[in-house]
């Protein structure tokens, strides 16, 4: 490496180290006032503790449901967007991307208005006479799932879109010319060829869902504790550094695990 190149890299690297790398590593081995092994032993306790396991289980389960919903809704949207032309296609694409620029707090906040005790959905159920006493919707797994789906659907759409857009529409026609119906052509040509995009979408959504804070905080409350809200509570309410660090470790392992799996899937896809 030439000296010039090193000088260009150094300032950025220094910031990266100070603002990210060093604290992240230090957090695992040296929380303030704790033994260096405290985090690991706490981690060991957590993954055998029923209460903690329930939180981990809820986080993973909701994450998987949200991932399935985001891919299941996002892929058809991406497909239709990629195959549609003209003004409407452009507007719908912009509408799908726009939420990525918008604050999560603003986006999630809408569900409070919709699902709350005096919210629109409850009012709708009462008004239509379906029920006199609308069920509790806020602070349920359903609320968290809806909120997270809203949050991560744009990400899923973009990831799928870039993959689907690269599939030559001529292939649809070719499959249909060979006798496949529209549905068959979709499942046997478009979906497999967009495979890598779907894997990327699923990975991003899952990693985002299991680490999101705003949504479980606003829509799940204390009755739907997830890893992120639990971590915050350890760090700022009970100030239990080892527990907070151990929770952070669990979250990180989840994210790295799914990223690793997806990279593996990508590599297998590339060699197959």
């Amino acid at each position: 490496m030439s000296r010039k190149t090193a000088l260009l890299l150094l300032p950025g690297f220094a910031f990266l180290a100070a603002g990210f790398l060093v604290p992240a590593v230090a957090m695992l081995i040296a929380p303030p006032g704790e033994e260096p092994t405290a985090v690991l032993s706490r981690f060991g306790e957590m993954i055998t503790d029923p209460y903690e396991l329930r939180i981990i289980g809820r986080t993973v389960t909701l994450g998987l449901i949200v991932t399935a919903l985001c891919v299941g809704l996002g892929f058809p949207i991406a497909y239709l967007l990629a195959r549609s032309q003209g003004r409407w296609g452009g507007i719908l694409l912009a509408l799908a991307i726009f939420p990525l620029l918008l604050s999560n707090v603003v986006r999630t906040f809408g569900w409070l208005v919709l699902l709350g005790a005096n919210g629109a959905i409850g009012k709708l159920l009462t008004a239509t006479g379906l029920t006199d006493d609308p069920p509790q919707m806020l602070y349920t797994p359903l609320a968290v799932v809806l909120g997270l789906t809203q949050l991560f659907l744009p990400l899923a759409i973009i990831s799928c879109y870039s993959a689907v857009a690269q599939v030559d529409p001529g292939l649809d026609d070719a499959a249909r010319g060979l006798g496949a119906g529209r549905t068959r052509a979709f499942w046997s040509v478009v979906v497999p060829l967009s495979g890598p995009g779907i894997v990327v979408a699923a990975t991003l959504v899952f990693a985002g869902s299991v680490t999101a804070y705003t949504t479980p905080y606003l829509l799940g409350g204390s009755s739907q504790r997830m890893l992120a809200t639990q971590l915050f509570s350890y760090a700022s309410v009970s100030v239990d550094w080892a527990a907070a660090s151990a929770t952070a470790l669990i979250m990180t392992i989840l994210v790295f695990g799914v990223s690793g799996l997806s990279a593996l899937a990508g590599r297998r896809g590339a060699t197959a």
């Binding site: 910031f15 957090m27 726009f98 999560n104 907070a244």
Partner: protein
């Protein structure tokens, strides 16, 4: 779309989930009533006034704007030279170095926030503004490196050589040729960086202080205490500002190009 009923129905459901809650925020903000309920009682702009005259919102808004601007500028000043080194320099382990600069993207932001809070603020006694600036800069470095890197990868390296051959020194060639070519990438990176920092909750969450708070976290706390349309009005104002940013983005470099940069 008529011919694809299943896909079309799923798409409609998806758009409803993405868009409808946002519309309800807007509707509620124009309420004349005292609580967040539906349908809103009457029409008024009272709560907008209540939002813009509410000191905690306005103070944290200013703080968030400063923080976002500072972190964006810092991330570009540090990230662009690094990108140039990665793409144009002869370095071993190019992929590894780029991966290092992109690594803040894969570690959960809440985890990074905890690390900074625990190690820098509690451990080293650093003030929260410096910690926030440091953390947000590290968070935005991947955007600076990746988005400007995508621009740089598209630019023909021979263009810089041509400038050198015509008599421009390395610095001059960079300023008159490379930098103008990077402009769309720099703009995209700045815009994405600014928005990302401004909207951030997980990283900033633990790094709050009575003196310096960020707007999204202040709004989260507000919901916990009071349940009235002031928060909806503030959210609507943020929405309006985001629409303006989006229109600027679309008119200048285009949405697709901006998000093409992060989503690789």
């Amino acid at each position: 779309m008529r011919a694809r009923p299943v896909a079309a129905s799923l798409a409609v459901l998806g758009y409803i989930i993405m868009i409808v809650p946002i519309l309800f925020v807007v509707v509620t903000a124009f309420s004349a009533g005292r609580t967040l309920r539906f349908p809103p009682q009457g029409f008024s702009l009272t709560w907008f006034e209540a939002a813009v005259t509410y000191d905690p919102f306005m103070e944290s808004l200013v703080s968030s704007l400063y923080l976002a601007a500072g972190a964006t500028v810092l991330a570009l000043l540090l990230g662009v030279p690094a990108t140039i080194a990665i793409h144009r320099g002869k370095i071993p382990g190019k992929g590894l170095i780029e991966g290092l600069f992109l690594s803040p993207l894969i570690v959960p932001e809440l985890v990074v926030g905890l690390a900074l809070y625990q190690q820098l603020m509690i451990g080293l006694g650093l003030d929260n503004l410096s910690t926030l600036l440091l953390g947000h800069t590290a968070l935005l470095l991947p955007y600076a490196v990746r988005v400007t890197g995508a621009s740089l990868a598209l630019a023909d390296p021979a263009v810089e050589e041509a400038a050198r051959g015509l008599g421009a020194g390395p610095v001059r060639a960079f300023l008159t040729v490379t930098l103008p070519l990077l402009r769309p990438g720099l703009f995209s990176a700045a815009l994405l960086g600014f928005v990302t920092s401004f909207n951030n909750v997980p990283l900033s969450l633990l790094l709050q202080d009575r003196e310096f708070r960020t707007l999204p976290v202040t709004m989260l706390d507000y919901v916990q205490q009071s349940y009235n349309p002031r928060i909806a009005a503030m959210a609507t104002l943020i929405l309006a500002a985001t629409v303006v940013v989006a229109v600027i983005a679309e008119r200048t470099v285009g949405f697709a190009r901006i998000f093409g940069g992060i989503n690789q």
